[in-house]
Subunit: 195 residues, 2 copies
Amino acid sequence: MSRTGRRKGETRTREAIADAARELFAKRGFDRTSLRAVAAAAGVDPSLVLHFYGSKERLFLSVVSPPVDPAVLIPHVLEGPPEKAGERLALFVLGVIEEPAARERVTAMVRAAASEPAAAAILRDLISREVLTPVAQALGVEDAPLRASLVGSQMVGLVMARYIVQVEPLASASAEQVARAIAPTLTRYLSGPLD
Amino acid sequence: MSRTGRRKGETRTREAIADAARELFAKRGFDRTSLRAVAAAAGVDPSLVLHFYGSKERLFLSVVSPPVDPAVLIPHVLEGPPEKAGERLALFVLGVIEEPAARERVTAMVRAAASEPAAAAILRDLISREVLTPVAQALGVEDAPLRASLVGSQMVGLVMARYIVQVEPLASASAEQVARAIAPTLTRYLSGPLD
């Protein structure tokens, strides 16, 4: 096999493993998903899962990446009038997670974080590194990590109430109505008074 | 056995079943907890669990009752200046759930709701009947159910971020600091503009 051919085969194998892992983590949770089961579902040898991903924790981390790219979201939120920052954030995030595949990824992440300490620890590190630290740097204020975690608390609560528990009328309100309702909350958490 | 003695025995049996159920639901989740396992942990015959509670759903419902009594909370929040309603709500709820036993009950409820559709459905009905409907009646406004579910989204998100995922610095901030930070959010959801 040529070098290019081998590289394509490796990419396909990695993707098959990631697809199988995403489905099993969503269905069974982190604890009850074994690397052996992922390998079987992907139709590959278990040793290949370890070869490509190193550990179950790293495999999980690589498949639960947030559907919203912070490198795109953060400049979008911070550019423009600060009093509209919460609205831009809410509309952007809701725009993404109203789409079924993205919603499934987000609810799988929240479910895993809620029920499994190991998954929660992985997500805590992910949130801190990929969201809180960049937001803190972008905001350039001392209490930015607290502000970012308050934003996170409202967003994760919205995912729980609207998509997972499906409390009415929040579950069937339009995305625009929800975005307008939470926008001032997010704006204040980002740059308003906190006490 | 006298009538009083029998009643005391029944109360003790009910409590032993409830204690065992609370512990098993918290540890294993709703799906993986059987009535047989609850009976074994309580040291009673399985038929007694059915006799006292009727079904697994009703047993779950009776042990996951929120640690905050809406009949006490709602008047406390609604009496006094409306612009301080969110502060009264935040301080009251945090005052209760900072206490370890209550926190354990709340996190068990959120975990169950996040990971198990059957538990989520039970909690959705519970929230609607015991929280949203009384709040709607007390507020006396047309969009009260939406307002109450927005309050719920921030509170459940706070439980996720502070107690379950434990994102810093929200996890180690003082209860007073957290209450002050979220109070204006709750006040606006209760009585402020939503768009």
